[in-house]
């Protein structure tokens, strides 16, 4: 009887983890699309308004690109490790 319960718990935990993984991948996919939109919008706005002070325009573009790289990295990390 205890063995059956532990197997049930194992399946339940495993199922929850898989569900979380699937949801995370879905969310990250949406998030990656969103970061693409942010990058394109920043580029458009930089063409409209360019601030050379402290390299602000290019700095913001770089930060937006870093967000994209991090999200793609996280997507791969979930696929491989979790």
């Amino acid at each position: 009887m205890p063995d059956a319960l532990s197997i049930f718990n194992f399946i339940q935990d495993r199922g929850i983890i898989l569900l979380i993984k699937f949801l995370l991948l879905l969310l990250l996919f949406v998030y990656v699309i969103f970061t693409f939109i942010v990058i394109s919008r920043v580029r458009t706005l930089n063409r409209t308004l360019s601030l050379s002070a402290a390299h602000a325009s290019s700095l913001i573009e770089i930060i937006a690109f870093i967000f994209l790289i991090l999200s793609v990295f996280l997507f791969i990390l979930i696929l491989v490790i979790v």
Partner: protein
Amino acid sequence: MPEIFNSKINKESIPVTPTVAKQSNPIGLFSAYSDNPTGINFANQEPNENIVLFLRRHFITNVGWIFFTVIFLLLPPILTALVSFSGASFFTITPQLMLVLTIFYYLLVFNYAFVKFITWFYHVGIVTPKRLLDLDVDNILHYHLAETGIEDVVDVSYSQKGFFQSFFNYGDVPIQTEAIKANFEFEKTPHPSEVADITTDLRPKQSKGGATHA
């Protein structure tokens, strides 16, 4: 017979004489108000067109999202401490999954702050001796650029509402233009009285109306 009205007067032939001091100010990353700023260029700017005023919303308007960002950053450690203190456990999460969840959460929080900063950073108003530009970035998916000639400005006013606007000296500067065209508004800009005054002074002398200070 004396001439009362002549519609053939060429508005462009009347010289624009800005009364603003010519001392140029290098603009900072977080500048919300700058007169005669340097280091800014906008699309379709003419070579001899200098910027008289550069405006953003007052930096104090960012306090809301900065506060929420700090709360969101502090939330996971507080929740972890509370859960470990109570001894409750809902289900087992592997350390790898916990790491990924944490990274994703902080990525979302930092992205929230970044997008909020962008909407503040690019939400600008520009005044030159020739035109007004109003770049409204309400959110990352919606932005609107409006432009009008300075000769089309009919009326400039300003308003300050509430304690914060009075205390930090910021407010709205609605600018009424020729009837067909859309009206402009520099929202929550610092020193609204000076903005209204400078914009009024830049108008050609034959323009109708005058600045009304609310």
